[in-house]
Symmetry: C2
Subunit: 348 residues, 2 copies
């Protein structure tokens, strides 16, 4: 079944992307379909990949096999493929065909853990960008002390002109409104200080664009990384280089902090005893979805396209991949994100 309307959503999976191949993608799908990683509506999957690689895995996951269609694609995008190479030579790849599924309306969104550059290039080529958007961006949701916030771009555009940053603000705002349900999202521009003298020339120009926007975008002004995690704004706008550094530092430091804490606790007899008592409790907590589990933040959305494409971490495990599928479902079912964005852009 590809699509049956109503309360169910159909998602295309590129099963060949990611460091661990189909195993992770199919297991992730299993976690979603079995409700271990709960989604708010029923999910149907179209799985794209090489028959020889995918079918053996699929045969071990009957639930996925039952609730999906498999589409054999003879080729796959490789991690080192340049975007231009993928555009020319990977037209029979699982990634290409999955996104083509979105274009043709066979699925509502596509998820891939493959090569980010190729994913962006193919998505852009097949789906096109929204009118008024020059460059799509990658966005994700990160936790803060007050809940969470959207940050973009995460690496699609290593260098950005001020106009692009302004468009990111519009897209991030639409995402925050439709996907996270924030009524009038506060938008901050990432900088290395709150003072007007701080930052690059491009940042200063983008600041002026956001401040003077005709329709108003509830612009908070410059924001530092620390304030973002304090929950001061709902949307953090930055270029793809800084955004990527912010995202990866966040993931690394969350893990490192717990690692150091555990090491410190275990350095004493009392601490080790305490850990033994706490362990069952910790595992119960973790299974029910801890906010500390960085995997639950996996799934970044490519914004600014005529369609929904979600990028999973290349190194994602099954739980993380399941969250990327959930993100793909969320972006659609909380609905009308693309339409909201079109309306916001046309209001500029």
């Amino acid at each position: 079944m590809v699509h049956d309307g109503g309360a169910s959503v159909s998602v295309a999976l590129d099963a060949m992307g990611g460091d661990c191949g189909p195993e992770v993608a199919i297991k992730g799908a299993d976690l979603v379909l079995s409700g271990v990683v709960p989604c708010e509506c029923k999910v149907h999957l179209s799985i794209y990949g090489k028959e020889s690689a995918v079918l053996p895995v699929l045969s071990r996951h009957r639930l996925v096999e039952k609730n999906s269609v498999f589409i054999d694609t003879p080729d796959a995008v490789l991690p080192d493929d340049r975007p231009s190479f993928a555009l020319r030579h990977r037209r029979k790849s699982s990634m290409w065909c999955a996104i083509e599924g979105v274009k043709k309306g066979m699925v509502a969104s596509a998820v891939s853990a493959g090569n980010t550059g190729a994913l962006m290039a193919i998505s852009r080529y097949l789906l096109g960008t929204l009118q008024g958007i020059d460059r799509p961006a990658i966005a994700t949701v990160l936790p803060s002390r007050e809940g969470n916030f959207v940050v973009l771009d995460l690496g699609a555009n290593a260098e950005c002109v001020p106009d692009s940053l302004f468009q990111f603000a519009i897209m991030g705002r639409a995402f925050s409104k439709t996907v996270l349900g924030v009524k009038n999202p506060k938008v901050g521009l990432l900088n290395i200080g709150a003072e007007e003298t701080k930052g690059t020339c491009g940042i200063k120009e983008a600041f002026a664009l956001m401040r003077d926007a005709k329709q108003g975008i509830n612009f908070y002004g410059y924001i530092e990384a620390k304030e973002a995690f304090d929950g001061v704004v709902d949307v953090v706008v930055t270029d793809g280089f800084s955004g990527n550094v912010m995202l990866k530092t966040c993931e690394a430091v969350a893990g490192l902090t717990l690692h150091i804490l555990k090491k410190e606790i275990c350095s004493s007899l009392f601490g080790r005893a305490l850990m033994r008592v706490a362990r069952p409790f910790y595992f119960r907590k973790r299974a029910s979805g801890s906010a500390l589990d960085v995997r639950s933040y996996n799934g970044a959305v490519l914004l600014g396209l005529n369609g929904v494409v979600v990028k999973s971490h290349g190194s994602a495990d099954a739980v993380a991949f399941a969250h990327a599928i959930k993100e793909a479902v969320c972006a659609i079912s909380q609905g009308a994100m693309v339409k909201e964005m079109i309306s916001e852009v046309s209001n500029i």
Copy 2:
């Protein structure tokens, strides 16, 4: 006493910098002199500040009063002062006079929690840059799974040309060798992916410079933020914008992770009971200097100058400020950092 040679080191304190003024600086000095935050050698302090603000605080800290000289300075650099303004109009400020102390050889280094831009501009003006270094950088030490690593620049140069990034590599290497005692430090260039196609044009040019360096700098290649915290390299080179984002994200996420963990644990009766049992243990650990205490990483060194200047966080508390003083002592007593840098630069 200003300087008595031998195993003691004299440090200039700008007591007027930082969000909380002299109170924090003097208390921080007290923690160092009393050995609560231990330093590897004896410290003598020259405290610069406005008499009316500093003397009342000093009178409450007899140990500091006894082991320092106080220098009354009629002016102070304000947080919003532009660097150019500070250079022209703050020549009688505590910051200016403290750095002048370094220049005249009255103290071995200076510590300030004041305006970073002004600190860099005044330091550069008074001390000058090392031959072969165009732009000084701010460096600090961050924790990794394998120990720690140096990262620079942290915000002195929001935009960097490839030559500057190359010079940062040389400076970071010298810091790692002399201050952290790493024999042949591995240097990584921060990027948003390991593939050669990733990153900005500037990054790619800097990559070529580092790879082709005549004397060799043990260049690891591109490194992502995640790998840096895994401990893959000893030195991470980046521009001041990304470095600042990395530093502030690191500080924020370390705090946020512990905040979420505490909240999750306290959400159950069992967890609350566990916390009560663990609390005395935790405080004992913390007092003895936990690796989780971000304050112990306070103190960033301005590299590339003819002298040692250390920047403390503006929002530092006394413990954090004490660590900045310690850093200033360290940078000198582990010795010869400046000389090492001169020799490295002349080898290029």
